[in-house]
């Protein structure tokens, strides 16, 4: 599951920054940093959607100042006392937490979206590849629980290389745990929208990210179960360039829509109005 993380790093260069300019990682166009930020890190030339931090995502998804974080205190726990050749997981987790100023690879909270009360979860790929840990699993389960108790729709934005290897089997079990949370929403008729962003793989795509009432993807996002390199090594074939892109998944029937970042908020508000189950219509 974690195979994906390393291989992606080689493919996508980080955004290079030259003074006031940003270079698009996809088409290499030089774009004013200010414009780049205003366009929500979407390239005006080629439409490339760059990764967002969880805070940037929250800012462009929900109503201003409406976000109230839930379960902020949940942080990584070293269930296995795991260390590899280079480092101890406990140290790595602590360093990452301090460097990024977030406690886990997901931010959860309640908010309003065009006035509609929702529960939101936003993954952050910077935090150990957005990997699914017990902390992430717990936050998602608790978010689904909050959604259930307060009858609010749940929206999860995924960005992850898969399970967090360093938490071993406890990490794997978070797939079952998060899906158990979603299962309760399904039975209670509470809407759950999954938004898949670049990249969503392994234990995350094979759990909550793929079982939304709607699966919505950002343009060009890479989404799959196994990583491209692992598949190529297994089948000893080269895969087509568009393999595992959002567009490829749309063609194969696994996402409902591809929605550009600038249109995401309004689209989410519109579709949420269909999941009211007889309650008066909302007014987005």
């Amino acid at each position: 599951m974690g195979w994906f993380r390393r291989s992606r790093k080689k493919q996508t260069q980080p955004v290079e920054q030259v003074d006031l300019w940003t270079i698009c990682p996809s088409c290499k166009a030089h774009i004013y940093k200010e414009e780049w930020a205003k366009a929500l890190m979407v390239c005006a030339k080629c439409g490339f959607h760059d990764k967002l931090t969880c805070h940037e995502r929250v800012a462009c998804t929900v109503d201003e100042k409406s976000f109230r974080e839930l379960d902020r205190d949940i942080k990584p726990r070293d269930h296995l006392k795991f260390s590899d050749a280079k480092s101890r997981y406990a140290d790595k987790a602590k360093e990452t937490t301090e460097e990024l100023g977030i406690n886990e690879a997901i931010l959860t909270g309640r908010a309003t979206l065009n006035g509609i009360p929702i529960v939101l979860g936003v993954m952050d790929f910077r935090f150990i590849g957005g990997s699914l840990s017990s902390g992430v699993g717990d936050k998602i389960y608790l978010a689904s629980d909050y959604a259930l108790r307060h009858k609010r729709p749940l929206i999860l934005f995924s960005a992850s290389g898969g399970a967090r290897m360093q938490e071993g089997i406890v990490s794997l079990m978070q797939m079952a745990k998060t899906c158990a949370g979603i299962s309760r929403l399904n039975k209670a008729g509470i809407p759950y929208i999954s938004v898949l962003t670049n990249p969503t793989f392994g234990g995350v795509s094979a759990s909550y990210a793929m079982v939304g009432d709607l699966n919505i993807a950002e343009p060009g996002a890479l989404i799959g179960f196994a990583g491209r390199r692992v598949i190529e090594q297994t089948i000893k074939q080269t895969l087509p360039p568009d393999f595992q892109t959002a567009e490829y998944l749309l063609a194969h029937g696994f996402v409902d829509r591809i929605v550009p970042r600038s249109e995401m908020k309004d689209l989410l508000a519109k579709v949420l109005c269909y999941g009211r189950r007889g309650k008066p219509p909302c007014k987005p």
Binding site: M1, M165, G168, M175, A180, F225, I235, F243
Partner: protein, 321 residues
Amino acid sequence: MNLDFEQSITEIEQQIADLQKKAEADGSNVKSDLSSLQKKLEAQIKKVYSELTPWQTVQVARHPERPIMRDYIKGMFSEFIDLHGDRCFGDDQALVGGFATIGSHRCVLIGMDKGRTVEEKIKANFGMSNPDGYRKALRLMKLAEKYQIPVVSLVDTPAAYPGREAEERGQAEAIARNLTEMAGLKVPIVVTVTGEGGSGGALGIAVGDSVLMLSHSIYSVIPPEGCAAILWRDAEKAPEAAEALKVTAPSLLQMGIIDEIIQEPVGGAHRDPAATFTATRSAIVKRLSKLKKLSEHKLLAQRREKYARIGKYDRRRHSTH
């Protein structure tokens, strides 16, 4: 076939064979020598298997002679009516399922089959399911729900198949759907990991009320080789990764991931399949009898709580530092 760490066992077996050959050739009486060697052999097997490292356990779990799905079907069930197809695409040969009777319990049985001969292995894709396998399993589990009979799941897979068509037909969705549906399935589910519990590919049929593990089976978030390749940058470091990942049954029981360890015969399931089937059948039957007494509400609440508890953040324990 002996494994590399079984050298000391192989040596005694060789001595026994030599002695028997000698007796055949010159008619000498070797009875007492033979019986003392037999005792020595048993003691040595017991010793080696009581000191297995995690990596050696991985090797035992993957032993080519270890019982596989088709053996368990013959060895534990008085009836098996195999059923086929996912009603969408095809009939995945890696995932076997159907109606089965174990003890006095009629159930739906699902599990991965690795195949024994080369042809069987290829046909069964070495126990690696495509999405069609997970969807077949789900179809049968839904049938169990309709007929109000429990589900018995036997897990033995290296992984879900990482192939092009698997991705195109939604490997991730198929597994995710199973996890979601199994969380709310209204009949008891008893899972037994018999060999390799390979990551999401295993979990796709392994959400249950009771999760049992054979004593030399493994269950892991990633194959040790894969983990070693990523975190150690060297697949040869798989033994270290196996140790770090805590993939063995005792570790998993200690962490509260599984409910029970089924003790294998001395020297592993492959040395005495019949005893393995007896122990496994009795453990499964006991679990089924208990679970069948629960109300639907209690069953589902208990299953949900079981998973909600795994890796739960405990504010009293964790927030102080």
